[in-house]
Each structure stands twice: as structure tokens, then as C-alpha cells.
Amino acid sequence: MTKAEKTLGSVANYVDERTGAAAWMKKNLTKVFPDHWSFMLGEVCLYSFVILLLSGTFLTFWFDPSQREVTYEGTYAPLQGLKMSAAYASTLHISFEVRGGLLMRQIHHWAAIIFMAAIVGHLLRVFFTGAFRKPREFNWILGVGLLTLGIVEGFLGYSLPDDLLSGTGIRIAEAIIQALPVVGSYLAFFAFGGAFPGESFIPRIFTVHVLLLPGAFLALITIHLMLVWYQKHTQFPGPGRTEKNVVGYPLMPTYMAKAGGFFFIVFGVIAFLSAVASINPIWLYGPYTPGQISAGSQPDWYMGWLDGLVRMAPPLETHAFGHTISWNILIPGLIVPGILFTGMALYPFIESWFTGDKREHHLLDRPRNAPNRTALGVMSLTFMMVSLINGGNDIIATHFSMTINQIMWGTRIGIFVLPPLAFIITKRLCLSLQRADRDLVLHGTETGRLLRLAHGEFVEVHAPISAEKAWTLTSHEQLPALELSETDSRGVRRPGGIKNKLRLRLSKAHAVAVPKVSADDLKEIEHH
């Protein structure tokens, strides 16, 4: 036994005698993780969150979350002698005087942008592959919660420096709060400690940003990961992969080295972006004052869709009985996002309701094999993209020599027309891809070799595909649509007829598929 082994042994012994961890560790060190590039998206979320914690802690050592007015006397000449909040002045201090401070600010901001992008990417992967199905509905809801928290946390974060751009963002947030019927102006006054902007908001959101929400994040992420661990990861269908097993690499050492290494890669890429691509140069914006603004005011990308919805809203307000209701704020700012996020959170339950499928699923769907779900996803994505484009309408207008009016009307119409169109196109594409799969299994791949038959006809020789590939293309199940009669056994119309009708229609739409290759098909082919 070498010396290192001895030391390790005695450490393990010490820990095990106090915790009994050996049995658990032995089992879990060989835990199997399936491998697929798309499974890295969730890892990127986790790692950028860790990077956010590290870089954020660094920033708090110098950041002064106060709206107390100070006169800037730092090294950045253009702002010297200007009055500004201590928050803005300390952000300038971090950027210009603390060595590595600007780099850390950039890393923190880039990590936030990538964190949100990875969450959205991870969410799309989970949605399009059906990974949210039983038993993973809880984790889906936790994910939607984390996405929502991320949007709020990101917004609060870029609001902290109190520069002209972020102050404008807070102004808009205040207007949304103020627009709430009955309680709006009260809530706004409580949140801001009086009239906007006041001197309380930055210190308050600082506490929320560095303590409350990160705490919530940590709790939710912990549960999210524990569930992944306990329920074991899903896997894509393929030879040897079934609903009853999980095929992949053991945690120690392969997965550990890959995942651990990947953390450093994510960190390295974020550091690289921060070194070469400057974002949020707050010193160019100047300190916040409600009387000023700069053209091209843009939120971070994950708020862009919300801003785009607000921009395209029609100018609707109700004035009645001495009260005002701002539909132009409430509909795009609260009602539509509320419906979207609630619908997203509930989707796993809605799908299992209309498919009637209550079984566990550990094998992922290839997106083409669930055309209706895939089309729904692309439809939602299109809705978001149209909103996002309108969120940048001023930038697009100046870059592509268009008028704001063209883009605004384009998106106002597009938001109703394009999502359904995307649904139809996607569904058809999925079915075409299914048909292509079917052809591939029945007739094999094209070899490019032409053959002239005895009677002069030219044919291309097809080579059969491998047994593995054939299995991958045909192993999915095709559930038939639900069959519910509208009347019960005694011929009486069931209660909730409309609900049943809706369920049947959804179920039927969901079950549309190109029949996969059956034994009969193969037999028929052999006769040719």
C-alpha cells in the first residue's frame, strides 16, 4: 500500500465512522450519466450560476448600494465633478480603479446573460424531447420557477449601478407597479419609499439581489439537482436503451472529469468574452436623472420580449368613475406574460390529461415524433421572437434603414399571424421527417451507384441501414388518440361535454403521425 493510499484510507475511515457514508458513496460514485451534447445546457446553467456567485461576491466588496448624492472625483475624466449616487460612483470606482474590477463586472454581466440563455436552451431541450413527462413534472415546475427568478434577478442586477440606462429600466418597472388597479400607486410608494425614484430603492433591491433571491436560487437548484440525481437522467432512444435502464458513463472518473472540466471551459469562455467584448459601459451613460434618456435604450436580452410586447401594445386606457386602468401596460406587462408562464408551468399536466398517458417516461422523444408538441414549442418560440424583434425595433430601424412604424406594424400583425403559421409549418415538417425516417427504414440509404437494368431502366442502388439505426428510427411508440364517447353507457350526455370535446380534439391532434414501419411493411418489401 502506498503512502497516498494509506492517507486516503484513514480519511475515508474517519468520515465513514462518523457518517456511514461509504455505502452511499460507493453506490453513487459509479452512478451512470447518459451522454449527449444537449445535456450540457443544464450544466452551463449551473456553472454560470457558480460564476455569478463568485464574481458577485467580489463586486460587493467595493459596491456601495446607496442613492446618497456624491460628487465624482475618480479617475474617469469626463464625469469628474458631476453629482451622482454613491451606487454609480462606486461602480465607476470598480471599473476604473480596482484592478480586475472591470473584468469582474464584465464576467458577472456576461455570466448573467449566458445563465439566462442556457436556462432557455435547457428549457427548450427538455420541452422538445418530452423530458418533462412523468415522473419529472416537479422538476419542470422548478425550472419554470428558476427561469422566472432569473429574469427578476437579472433585471435587479443591471438596475443596481444606477446609470442612466438602468434608471430608465427602473422607471418602467415603477410604471408597471403603478398601473395595477386599486393598489398600484400604494405599492409603488411602498417599494420606492415615496415618489419615484426616491433614495430607498437601490439599497432595497441590493438586499434582494444578493441575499434573498440567491438564497431562493440555491434552494431551488438543490432540489432540482437532487431530483435529477434521484430520478436518474433521461436518455435518448437507441440500441440497448430502454425505459428500464440508463446507459452512460460512470460518475467517477469519466463524468466527473468531463463535467469538472466543462466548468472551467464555461468559466474560460465567459472570461474571454469579458476580455474582448465590453458590455454595459455604464461610464458612457452617465448618472441617472429622470429628466434625461439616451436613444436606443435597450434592456438585457431576456427582458427584450417583454419590452417588445409593451411597445406593440395598442394605446388603450379606460377612464371611468374617476379611475384609470392602463390596458396598454397591464395586458403586455402582466396579463400576457402571466398566461404564458402559467401555461408553460402547467403544460406537463395538460399533455398527460389529453393523451391519457400516466406512465413513467425515461426515454426521450425525438422532436419529430411528437409533431404537435414540437409545433406548439416552435409556435411559442415564434411569439417570443416576434416580441423580441419589436423590443429592438429602434435598433433594427437604424441598422436596416426601416421606419419604426413599419417594424411596429409588422410585429403587431406578425404576433397574431406568424405563431399559428409556425405551428402549421413545424407540424408538417415533423410529419415529413417521419416519412423520411420510414423511407429510410424501408428502402435504405441512397448509395449514389446507378444501375442499368437489362431492359434499359436506370435505378439507384439503395443500401440497407444498420440494425442499430433501424431500431433508433422505429423504437418510439405511437399512441392512438383517446376514445371517449360523449354519452355514458346509458346514452346520457356526460357532464363537462365541452371539456371532453376539447380533450378529444387535443388528443387527436397529438396522435397525428406517419405510421412507423411495421412487420407487415417489411414483409411486403421482401416480396418485391
Binding site: V32, L103, G194, P197, G248, V269, S274, I325, S326
Partner: protein
């Protein structure tokens, strides 16, 4: 469903294919060297980081092709850190890919549902335990507990009350009073009508007493935009026209939609545009909304000149400025 006979059978896991480094000792050595080189590059990155931190002055700018002038200190720190971290990751992954076991392992899943007898036992236990507490029987305790818990939930709401004052009429008031002089922002200088040429724009605020500070929350309501047109350019009602002075018209600069500063004035079209959500207001028609989500025109300030010829407000705003709120009476 899955009982139906599949046309094509599962061929099972494909056979494991050995990598070069598994069978060839030379390839194995090569892979080992590659990993070591990657880790060495990372160490060089850390050296670059240290060098930039200690020796490169914070105000040194260098020319970098494609990127243009760059701060050498920032770039050195950033690239050093990026290289240092990235290549640790690359090394670890190369190690895993070439030298660590790559045989796929199969583990079995279990159904999450507990066995039937366990589930029954669970229900029985819960019923028993709940029964011993008498939850079902003691309705007095249940009701009083519910009431107590409900009431105690008011505590945090109550304690948060002092976060801010109630709005009262605060949202409806500005600092503009009858006779308040319009002063430049920045500068706080009073303005003569002749200071503004036709086509000019100026941001103004109400005059404040010498030596007093302006609170941001006041600017958030008081900011006014002055625009001078030819009087014949206006298409206003007689009342609104009377609020202008010799072609000078004054609007609240705070957007009636969400409170951003309506700062973009287009001289050709005489339109005001809010950069936040592109609400567009026609100055000649009293800041009427001609495009975008804003539902109300910008409130107009009634202006005139005092005995010395300086612009003053004849009256305060006749309606609240800024975004809408529930108590706003727009009639």
C-alpha cells in the same frame, strides 16, 4: 401498446470500440503529453494574468488588429484568466476522452411507486397518527388554530407598512405654480422668449430658491420640454393655443405611457418620440399621440412672460403628469 410486436428488434448495445490509446502504448503516451501540454498552457495564462496585474499600467492603451485601441491592462487580465481557466477544462476533458474508461455502463431503473403494502401502511400510519392528535374530532382547536394562523399572516404585511408613505395626492402634484420661472437644465438660468429661435428645443425645470437642491423625485415630475415653432404651425384649440407664448409651447417631458423622458424631437416632422416604447406625439397638435402605446397626450404647461420678459408658468399643470395610476381622474 408496447406489447405489440415490434417489426424491428433491439440489437442491443453496440460493441465497445477501443480507442487508439487503449491499445497502443505510443498513442497512450501521446495522449498523456497532450493533456500535460494543455495544463501547461493554462499555467502560462495565469502568468499572463499576474504580469498584467502587476506590471501593466491601468491606463495603457495598445492597438489590437480588428479590435482597435484596447486597454492593455484589462485585455491582459481577461485573456490571462480566460486561458488559465479554459485550458484546465480542455486538459481535463482530453484526459477523460482519451485515457479514462469509455465503456458505456448500464444501470437499472426502479419504478418510483412504493410497493402496495408500503402505501397501505403509510395511509394507515397517517390516519393513526392524525387520530391520536384528534384532528378530526376537535373542531374547536382546528378552527381557532386556523384563525390564529390566518391572523398571524398579517404581521409581515403590517411590519412592511412603513416601507413608504401613502401616495395621497403626491402623484398629482408638481412644483410648478402660477408665476414659477422656467429655468434651464442644467444651469438654472431663467429664459427670455427671445433665447429660443424657431425650431429650437430646451429642457427646463421650475426655478428653485438659491442654494437649495433639487430632488430627483421632483425632476421626475417637473421636467418640461420647450419647443418654439411658428405660431401658424399650430393646429390647437383656442384654449390650448392660449397656453403657448409667441410660438413657444411647453409639454411635460415625462411620458404619459411609462414615465420615460420624451427626449427625441424631430425638427422636420415636429414629432416628439419617446425612446423607451416609441410613442410619438405631434407637437403641432398639442402632443397628440399619433403612434405607439401611449394613450394620452403629454400634459401642456400654460406659459407666458413676466414683467422682465422671462418665461413663467401662468398656472400649474391642469392634470397629473407621467404614467397613469388607478386614482388618476382623467375626465
Amino acid at each position: 401498446m408496447s406489447n405489440e410486436i415490434e417489426a424491428i428488434q433491439d440489437p442491443g448495445l453496440p460493441a465497445h470500440v477501443h480507442r487508439e490509446a487503449d491499445v497502443d502504448p505510443i498513442a497512450e503516451k501521446r495522449a498523456e503529453r497532450q493533456v500535460a501540454i494543455l495544463f501547461a498552457i493554462s499555467a502560462l495564462g495565469t502568468l499572463l494574468l499576474i504580469y498584467s496585474y502587476v506590471f501593466v499600467p491601468q491606463d495603457l492603451f495598445i492597438f489590437v488588429p480588428v479590435m482597435g485601441d484596447q486597454n492593455a491592462h484589462q485585455l491582459g487580465l481577461g485573456l490571462g484568466m480566460a486561458i488559465s481557466l479554459f485550458f484546465i477544462g480542455m486538459g481535463a476533458i482530453q484526459w477523460a476522452r482519451t485515457l479514462m474508461p469509455d465503456t458505456e455502463v448500464v444501470a437499472h431503473r426502479h419504478e418510483f411507486r412504493s410497493p402496495e403494502n408500503e402505501r397501505e401502511d403509510f395511509v394507515k400510519t397517517v390516519k393513526e397518527r392524525a387520530g391520536t392528535a384528534g384532528l378530526g374530532r376537535r373542531s374547536l382547536i382546528k378552527k381557532s388554530l386556523g384563525a390564529a394562523l390566518g391572523l398571524s399572516a398579517l404581521t409581515p404585511l403590517l411590519l412592511l407598512r412603513d416601507l413608504g408613505p401613502v401616495p395621497s395626492k403626491e402623484l398629482e402634484k408638481t412644483s410648478w405654480k402660477s408665476g414659477t420661472r422656467l429655468v434651464t437644465d442644467p444651469g438654472n438660468r431663467p429664459i427670455l422668449a427671445s433665447d429660443l429661435e424657431v425650431g429650437a428645443v430646451a429642457q427646463v425645470l421650475p426655478a428653485i430658491a438659491e442654494g437649495t437642491e433639487r430632488a430627483l423625485s421632483d425632476i421626475g415630475k417637473d421636467a418640461v420640454l420647450l419647443i418654439r415653432l411658428r405660431p401658424s404651425d399650430f393646429q390647437l384649440t383656442p384654449e390650448k393655443f392660449a397656453m403657448t407664448h409667441d410660438g413657444i409651447i411647453a409639454f411635460s417631458k415625462i411620458c404619459s405611457h411609462m414615465g420615460c423622458a420624451v427626449a427625441l424631437y424631430e425638427q422636420q416632422t415636429k414629432h416628439l418620440l419617446c425612446p423607451c416604447h416609441q410613442s410619438t406625439f405631434d407637437v403641432t397638435r398639442g402632443a397628440k399621440v399619433i403612434f405607439g402605446p401611449a394613450a394620452r397626450p403629454l400634459p401642456q404647461l400654460d406659459i407666458t412672460i413676466d414683467s422682465e420678459g422671462y418665461l413663467i408658468a401662468r398656472a400649474p399643470f391642469s392634470e397629473p403628469v407621467g404614467p397613469s395610476f388607478w386614482e388618476r381622474n382623467s375626465q
